[in-house]
């Protein structure tokens, strides 16, 4: 996995909540048995018309957002199916960072990202950043005034800089384990296998039929 430290690039707005992984990569593209070739089919049903030409209505087809590296969207992004293909499509399209808002509604936290999706992102070098709703509203408003503007996401410093007007630098929180993994591009399996002796010892006493 490629380490991720600082990402500078165009920030593209996808103004929808609850974008599910069926939308991110429709099922006809799950049939591939390799790990590549998903990028061109990202958001397929929204991105292309029936005749296969790009739908000019869809935001990523707007010239201003060509080659975007950062996506800003609304809450519960990546819900639904566990398909990791969704993250492969996002990463292979060229996105390295996704930003989404979280909010608290009568004690109920509505997250920026669905659980499995967020996990899958971390395993594929894609950074997911949760900000407050007003911060995300601010980013959408700024992009509307400056379509095609760039942003810099600095993972070590946990900061986002929007390169327009004199917009403030936004700080973000991140799980330290995920931060470390992204910074180093760590492979999880290698890490687990350093505990080989413990796994073997565990297996000696653990009955998987009756795990008492």
């Amino acid at each position: 996995m490629e380490p991720l430290k600082t990402v500078r690039g165009v920030i593209a707005p996808l103004d929808r909540a609850n974008v599910d992984t069926d939308q991110i990569i429709p099922k006809q593209f799950l049939k591939s048995i390799s790990r590549t070739g998903f990028g061109e089919n990202l958001f397929f049903d929204w991105r292309y018309r029936a005749d296969g030409s790009p739908d000019p209505e869809f935001i990523l087809n707007d010239e201003a957002f060509r080659g975007a590296a950062i996506l800003v969207t609304r809450h519960n992004f990546g819900c639904g199916s566990s398909r990791e293909h969704a993250v492969w499509a996002i990463a292979q399209y060229g996105f390295r960072v996704i930003i989404a808002p979280q909010r608290d509604e009568n004690g109920n936290r509505i997250p920026g990202f669905a659980d499995i999706f967020r996990n899958n992102c971390a395993k594929n070098g894609v950074l997911t950043v949760e900000l407050s709703e007003s911060q995300v509203d601010g980013i959408f408003a700024l992009i509307e005034r400056h379509p095609g503007m760039q942003a810099t996401v600095d993972l070590p410093a946990q900061q986002i800089t929007l390169h327009a007007e004199n917009s403030p630098v936004i700080s973000f929180d991140i799980d330290p384990a995920i931060k470390e993994r992204l910074l180093k591009g760590l492979d999880d399996i290698t890490k687990t296998l350093t505990h080989e002796a413990q796994i073997t010892a565990f297996e000696h006493t653990h009955d998987t039929q009756m795990p008492a």
Binding site: R35, S82, P111, A177, I199
Partner: protein, 468 residues
């Protein structure tokens, strides 16, 4: 300290902890299907790794299987995926229930059927509906393909500990109201992200009164509420299900006696504390019908399609987009919505009890003019059972199509699909845009409600309809 069911299982499977607070969790059962596994096996091969415990890994073909003639996979890409899993299982020494195997079926149907799913175990699969297996008092959840590779290589998974959430269903369901309606009601109440970060435990008299099939339906759709796992503590119903017929992978004889004694220790202790609690009165639940493109966009069959500003948890713009996609006008009574397709099946409602419930509605009746009805058993075992009971005849005589087992029209990765603009009453679990076919429109309902819609051509309130 009193412990919850989840805590007991979690602690028994803890291999070690990491500095960052995550736990290395041991996995007892790893289920594999053809869609989310090829890249994981490819990864193993590239790294020169083996499958650590092939005997704890079970594979089946389900998503791509044609349900009319399972041996005629004409789509070359489907074929490639099926062949890849067959090759991978042979190379890595994994049991595969292939298309010739009488045990084949949807992964979440065959696990319980074959006794692979047992109380107190940890179960993962590269499929979000792995939550189904929690009905047995197992900790079961869906994982991504990188995690599939991780489990294949190490039989473990590093996991952050989720929080716990108890959902209590008080009271009794009204006649005609089912487990499907309970879980749709829950999703409508807490929203599709309401359970994110939690493991749900279902409790209360209305849960205890459910059969294992019903409990599986509830746990299955837990992921639609954002929670990766849902669980029900094992009880007599659980043990009776496991002992009912010979289940090849379940313990037998003395081992079974010991296992039962262990399973009895699993329910949460008196006074165990949950991070969050919710109580729902089951007696107030009406049959549910989704009207939008998210499982949380759901209402009572007796209600109307809402106006965009009336839906808690969704912005008016999201609701407008959904209604446009669904071709529905706000204010339309749900019972005025006409369907042209009915799908009865999937890992949510493709078990024998679901087919019996649907058959009871079809018995002596005919499918409405112009409605295409697919009845698809969740496994070959369900198929044989249904045929032994004569259910297939009831379906055929009513004018429905009786198919072979597979995921079928739950997700349109095989020949069973909706055409653009078609409207389907479906017993599956997701009403996302395009889920059942591009521009297809899905309404999620229980098997009874789907069968009644097939007969009348539109939604009906099963409670009054059955009496009349």
């Amino acid at each position: 300290m009193p412990k919850t069911l989840f805590e007991k299982i979690w602690e028994r499977h803890r291999v070690t902890g990491f500095e960052d607070g995550t736990t290395l969790l041991y996995i007892d059962r790893h289920l594999v299907h053809e869609v989310t596994s090829p890249q994981a096996f490819e990864g193993l091969r590239l790294a020169g790794r083996k499958v650590r415990r092939p005997e704890l890994t079970f594979a089946t073909l389900d998503h791509n299987v044609p349900t009319e003639n399972r041996h005629e996979i004409t789509d070359p890409v489907s074929r490639a995926q099926v062949d890849a899993l067959t090759r991978n299982c042979r190379e890595f020494g994994i049991t595969l229930f292939d298309l010739d195997d009488e045990r084949q079926g949807i992964v979440h149907i065959i696990g319980p059927e074959l006794g692979i799913t047992l109380p107190g175990t940890t179960i993962v699969c590269g499929d979000s509906h792995t939550s189904t297996h929690g009905a047995f008092g197992a900790l079961a959840y869906g994982i991504g393909t990188s995690e599939v590779e991780h489990v294949l290589a190490t039989q473990c998974l590093p996991q952050a500990r989720p929080k716990t959430f108890r959902v209590t269903f008080e009271g009794r369901l009204q006649p005609g109201v089912t487990a499907k309606d309970m879980v749709l009601k829950l999703i409508g109440t807490i929203g599709t992200a309401g359970g994110t970060g939690y493991v749900l435990e279902y409790c209360g008299p209305a849960i205890r009164a459910l059969s294992m099939e019903g409990r599986m339906t509830v746990c299955n759709m837990t992921i639609e509420a954002g929670a990766r796992a849902g669980m029900v503590a094992p009880d007599d119903t659980t043990i009776e299900y496991i002992c009912r017929t010979p289940r090849p992978y379940a313990p037998r004889g003395e081992a079974l006696e010991k296992a039962i004694a262990f399973w009895r220790t699993l329910p949460g202790d008196e006074g165990a504390v949950f991070d969050r609690e919710l109580t729902i009165d089951a007696s107030e639940i009406a049959p549910q019908v989704t009207w939008g493109t998210s499982p949380g966009m759901v209402t009572d069959v007796s209600a109307r399609v809402p106006f965009p500003d009336q839906v808690p948890g969704y912005s008016p713009a999201d609701v407008e987009k959904s209604l446009e996609y669904m071709g529905l006008a706000p204010g339309t009574p749900i019972t005025d919505i006409a369907v042209d397709t009915v799908f009865i099946g999937s890992c949510t409602n493709g078990r024998i009890e679901d087919l019996r419930a649907a058959a009871a509605i079809f018995q002596g009746r005919r499918v409405a003019e112009g409605v295409r009805v697919l009845v698809v058993p969740g496994s070959q075992q369900v198929l044989r059972q249904a045929e032994a009971e004569g259910l297939d005849r009831i379906f055929r005589e009513a004018g429905a199509q009786w198919r072979q087992s597979g995921c079928s029209m739950c997700l349109a990765m095989n020949p069973d699909k909706l055409e653009p603009g078609q409207r389907c009453a479906s017993t599956s679990n997701r009403n996302f845009e395009g889920r059942q076919g591009k521009d297809g429109r899905t309404h999620l309902v229980s098997p009874q409600m789907a069968a009644a819609a097939a007969v009348t051509g539109h939604f009906v309130d099963i409670r009054s309809w059955q009496k009349g």
